[in-house]
Amino acid sequence: MDYIPHITLILYLVGLLALGILGLLKGRRAKHAEADYYLASRGQGVLTTSLTIMATYFSGFAILTFPGWVYGNGVPPMFYALNLPVAAAAIYILGNPIRRIGRKRGYITPADMIADYYGDSQFIRGMVAFLGALYVVPYVVMQVKAGGILAQGLFPDIANVTLLGQELTMENAGVGALSLITMTYVIVGGMRSVAWTDVLQGLLLLSAMLLSGVVVMHALGGPSGYFKEVSQLDGQLLTMPDAPAKFNAWHAVTFCAFASLASIVQPAQWMRFYAARDSATLRRTAIAFSTILPICFIFGVFLVGLGGRTLYPMLADGSLPVGLTNPDQIVVRVIQDLFPELLGTVGVILVSLILVAVMAASMSTADSNLHALSAVATRDVYHQLRPKAGEKERTWFGRAVIVIATLAAAGITYAGSGTNLLNTIAAFFFLAMAFSAQLLPITIDLLFLRRGTKAGAVAGLVAGMIVVFLFPPLGALLFGEDSALISSTGKLKVLLDVGFCGMVVNTIVFVVVNRFTTAPDAAHREAFAQDLRNQPQLKADLPISKQ
């Protein structure tokens, strides 16, 4: 019994490495090294695309923080799950034209497409790459750190590990091991390995989310017993709070509408649209995303949070009960207590599997973002500085970026929590989606409207980014906790999603500057529109060499 967590973890990690090697073997005969490494030769099918998009969409947040919110605040945070159908619709409505034109024009990163439309501007490419990095880098660091914390949760009885004469905490040992394994399979197989491991990780994650809800409901006497217990909870947990209370309706609406879209246009997801085999793949992915994920949340892991509140009630003064130091621990606490008691040895195995699934959630987000960071650094920075570099050289540069980024992420987390650098990265992490949301106005313009100008796009992006920087926790680092500005934006943040606030300013500036500047020429816009619509280009629009 004591060895079950070890065996489960080893099987899981060996499985990841095996998939990484399979990805490498499959990609060896590819004609285009770069498109194969970053986009799996644009041939990913439904199973791979849907699970890699789902696994990338959710980090450890899905299975830890979300139920923790439900434990602390009841039903209202559950409404944030309505971001899932919005994201599902965006997978097809935004993703399919992105896939179509990406295939026709050979794009690999989001900046390839955006810079191409707005006049091949290096500045706008740099801006888009910078915004992508603002999303990707904090995610990599925080997910590596989360992996270490989860390793500690999987082996709570092991305080320290001795490695090469060095004594490491279990958390640091976990950070080191998970970083090494993630880095290895991302380096060897690129997108194919990342996506295939995401399939394994996604299946584990979804099963764990659903299973934990079913077991909690069973433990409380089935649906009727469960809801009988829940109905005894404080009325504030079962009704929607008025603004400005946390999880009020205003914030829920703006979060669902815009945070979901921000997650869908971040670099790793955007590249998954390029990598999809055809439109049917994205159509079926949207169907899977809109049906499977809400079920796993609403009938799965949310019920653990709410049931957890009846099993481990908070104390009268609002503090957490003994055994919980953070609401995020509720899922782990519930499964560790209930599963072995209800299911015996099978329960112990399931606890290990679910903890590994939580780890999988962190790793699947970290690997996708590492891979996307490599693409952005290679295509949007290195290739621009060294245009003569061939595909193979660029791919090797991308691998080097993965090594450096992983070592840096592990080093930052090893240096310990509470350091200024880690606190700053954590502040960026909390606003990562808000930064990514700033790409939405120009994405919608180039996909559907094509009225924007290069100057308008740059001005809008800069304005949106500045607005996000003014909100806490980043703004507090820049201007101090007590400044009047941070006090105002802090109040606004409770009411509206930060990304939405930035996007409103971004859109206004974009529209105003567009009115006074010149759009790309009509032939360029029409050619772009035709490639987006999947229509053959008029002969006159083609370059002379192709006529």
Binding site: V75, K228, A252, V253
Partner: protein, 78 residues
């Protein structure tokens, strides 16, 4: 999939968009306040908190819009 004429699908596209956006706005917004009641007078339906059922209903409406769009409006073109 077959490809029905675009103009015939326009009313369906508009209806689905309106229903989807209305669910997104009313679901967590006004509807949640009306459905859930207030902390002193929580509403239940079949023993289940009405706010939870309202969430399930809203999600069902939004997901149905996507399923209908995926079956009728979104074309497999390659």
């Amino acid at each position: 999939m077959t490809d029905p004429p675009t103009d015939k699908l326009r009313p369906l596209r508009i209806r689905l968009t309106v229903v989807f956006l209305a669910a997104l706005l009313i679901g967590p917004g006004l509807g949640s306040h009306l459905a859930g009641g207030d902390p002193e007078n929580v509403r239940f339906l079949f023993g289940v908190p009405a706010l939870y059922l309202w969430l399930v209903f809203t999600c069902l409406v939004m997901t149905s819009c996507i399923l209908i769009a995926a079956r009728t409006l979104w074309r497999d073109e390659d």
